[in-house]
Amino acid sequence: MSAAIETVDLVKTFGHTKALDGLSLTVKEGEVHGFLGPNGAGKTTTLRCLLGLLRADSGSATVLGRDTWRDAVELHRHLAYVPGDVSLWPNLTGGEVIDLLGRLRGGLNGQRRAELIEIFDLDPTKKSRAYSKGNKQKVALIAALASDVELLLLDEPTAGLDPLMESMFRTLILEWRGEGRSVLLSSHILSEAEALSDRLSIIREGRIVETGTLEQMRHLRRTSVTAHLRATPVGIDALTGVHEVVVEGTHLTCQVDAEALDGLLPLLSTFGIEAIVTQPPSLEQLFLQHYGQAST
């Protein structure tokens, strides 16, 4: 599979601030790629570089095989973008904005447009100034999803949507992927990214600190083990790769490196296992590890 998005060592500075500091990101064709990071990590700057709205200081960025700066106009025919902070012309109606943006991109699927307006329950005759944040986001989403393009760039697209609309959104994105199209989904809603993404990248201070499938990321992490034993366990902390061991009577909790599980389980069975729960690290734990906070 070739890459829908490929950036190598992207650097972008604003004055003295380094917004992107050698960002290398690869999004494969046909995948939904979660792009995770807290506010200010550089997610929006990355997207704007990918759109040729910002010019990177160094490094390369190609989207759908085209240079993001030089070939921006041609490239934009094949992608659709939903900004995080949707700002619409107050005098234009939602319907007008949808049509306008679609046409400027090179065409809109009229039937799809009608379906989406139905699904999202949007009144397209309202002037944009009368829309709430969520409704403005719907306008941008409909304009993007009704386009016949290969790639979607979404910048925190569900921040203003209610839970019902958010689940609609998830269905639509999975449908979209089912047609073999690609999505870069920037988000800080981890459950959303977890539910939708084939692969994930975590950005921190302008760099990708981890990338891969959730499984791959988990594989490198500690699994949390909780066990009820018949006897009080001893010697657990002596094992290498077992951490944060807490023993309360016959109750044990600990964090175990993936390769240490083989050593732990036989030892536990010598004490007699009544119940055991192993839990892979949640995305939140993975995420928080990168931001130097205690996992909960």
Binding site: Y81, P83, V97
Partner: protein
């Protein structure tokens, strides 16, 4: 909760936001007054020369329509501040309107009032702060003007009458803006509505003043806040009692505004927002169509105002030929910047002034690029397959075609109105050519906006500063005997002054090439730079 709670904090906040702009305006107005007065003082040393100059105004309906009547021909003060009574009233009215809207409706439209309203702030605090800041500025401008005028040797009573007339006129328009701010949802529309009322007020007193006799104007002038300011008659009776009219009007209008404020929702207006079309017109499919869609309502308004005002001036200009044929009047018009033939001189004078207004439209239209960008509206468009160049050209074309249409409307309406009076179409071609001949200078200002936009979009306001500078060069530069090189900096000074003078192609061609170059450099730079996103 007290509905005024938090007013003081918001006032201080508004002053903090305007800490540069507001002092500049507060200084510019008195400076303009004092410099224009001191120049006139030197021009008319004795009473006889003043009487001649005053009658040259009072005998000409067009001059009365534009500036008002001089109620005491012997008064030096009345003569020197004639232009600033009516025109200055308009300018101070515009300032008051913009200030109120900037701090009231514009804040609300951008959603900042909501944030503030959730704090311990009363419902009326925002509007109160806007009105307090504006009225304080008006009083400061009036007081500084009065002190300055007294300092250049004009009578103190008259100077204070003038300063207070200005201050109260400004306050009256602040109150009008406070009302229009309650009616519309957008700041743009609130401003436009108040400006229309301002234009009507100016016209009312123009018609009222023309039909006035020696001692009193017709009743129409008494319906206009600008008329009230003039009827205070600074240096020609100093009727301080008239000041109660604008003060009472301000109080009543503000009371109405606050009443309206309590009857509407936050963010809402009293005039309903109609539902629009559910799908875009088939033509709305290009950046140019979008620029046109965003800008045509304003252009249509400007065109209507141009046709009406030029038509009025054009139809009364015909009276001029008979009434101006006295040596004194000739000298007066010549002193105002005209040359040979009276009619041509007056036309050239009026067209030279209107060229600045047309240039102002060009600046507004081209600056839309900068506001679209800072409002975040450029981002979604440039994320589609629209090139930077075609995006820039879309709004630039509106500015270029818009200014050309305005010039055409002005010249044609002026010429046709004259033709309707004289029964001869002879002058129509000449007036159209005259108004169009200013386009190169007007486009140079548009080119400046594009150049600034290409490099630093936040600095496009500098085009306004330059336009005001060039206007001052044209209006008072000669009076104040500024050095020639200062006068030469203005592109408007190099235009051939049709129809009074001969056509000269060289400056037109040079300025057209220069403005095209500015636009090209600006467009080139815009392709290179980062988009400035909020």
């Amino acid at each position: 909760m007290n509905r005024f709670a938090g007013t003081l904090t918001l006032t201080r906040f508004a002053l903090r936001r305007d800490r540069v702009l507001l002092p500049v305006w507060i200084v510019i107005f008195p400076l303009l007054t004092v410099s224009s007065a001191s120049a006139t003082v030197a021009l008319y040393p004795d009473e006889a020369s003043r009487i001649i100059a005053a009658s040259a105004i009072n005998d000409v309906p067009v001059a009365i329509a534009m500036y008002g009547r001089i109620w005491d021909p012997t008064s030096l003060g009345a003569l020197s501040l004639l232009k600033l009574a009516a025109m200055g009233g308009v300018m101070i009215g515009i300032l008051a309107i913009m200030l109120v809207t900037r701090h009231a409706r514009a804040e609300e439209e951008k959603g900042r009032t909501e944030l503030i309203g959730s704090a311990v702030v009363g419902r009326w605090a925002g509007l109160s702060a806007a009105v307090i800041v504006t009225c304080t500025a008006m009083v400061a401008i009036g007081a500084l003007s009065a002190v300055g005028l007294t300092a250049v040797g004009l009578p103190a009573a008259g100077s204070w009458a003038f300063g207070l007339a200005w201050a109260t006129t400004g306050m009256a328009f602040a109150a009008i803006a406070a009302i229009t701010n309650q009616l519309t949802v957008s700041a743009r529309a609130a401003n436009a509505m108040a400006m229309i009322i301002l234009a009507v007020a100016y016209l009312l007193r123009a018609v009222g003043d023309i039909s006035s006799d020696e001692s009193s104007p017709s009743v129409l002038s008494w319906f206009s806040p600008i008329g009230w300011g003039q009827q205070v008659r600074p240096y020609a009776g100093d009727r301080f009692a008239v000041l109660f009219l604008p003060l009472v009007f301000t109080a009543v209008a503000l009371w109405a505004a606050f009443l309206l404020e309590s009857r509407r929702d936050l963010g809402g207006g009293l005039l309903p927002d109609r539902a629009g079309r559910g799908t875009a017109a088939p033509s709305l499919a290009s950046p140019l169509a979008l620029a046109w869609r965003l800008q045509y309502p304003m252009l249509v308004g400007w065109l209507a105002a141009y046709v009406i005002l030029s038509g009025i001036v054009g139809s009364i200009v015909n009276d001029l030929s008979g009434m101006l044929d006295t040596p004194e009047a000739r000298r007066m018009v010549a002193a105002l910047g005209g040359t040979d033939v009276m009619l041509d001189a007056f036309t050239a004078m009026e067209f030279a002034m209107i060229a600045f207004v047309t240039a102002a439209y060009g600046i507004v239209a081209a600056r839309r690029l900068a506001t679209e960008e800072s409002d975040g509206h450029a981002e979604p468009v440039l994320a589609t397959s629209v090139s930077r160049t075609s995006y820039l050209v879309s709004h630039l074309l509106v500015a270029l075609v818009g200014t050309a249409l305005l010039a055409l409307a002005q010249g044609a309406s002026f010429g046709l109105a004259t033709a309707a009076q004289t029964g001869s179409m002879d002058r129509v071609g000449a007036t159209v050519a005259a108004s169009l001949s200013y386009l190169p200078a007007i486009w140079l200002m548009t080119g400046l906006v594009i150049l600034l936009f290409g490099f630093v979009p936040r600095l496009t306001f500098l085009a306004w500063v330059l336009l005001v500078g060039f206007f001052l060069v044209a209006e008072i530069g000669a009076l104040l005997e500024w050095p020639q090189w200062v006068m030469d900096t203005s592109p408007f000074a190099h235009m051939p002054k049709l129809p009074a003078a001969e056509m000269a192609w060289t400056p037109l061609v040079v300025l057209t090439i220069l403005s095209a170059a500015l636009m090209a450099v600006g467009a080139w730079r815009f392709r290179q730079r980062d988009l400035d996103t909020p």
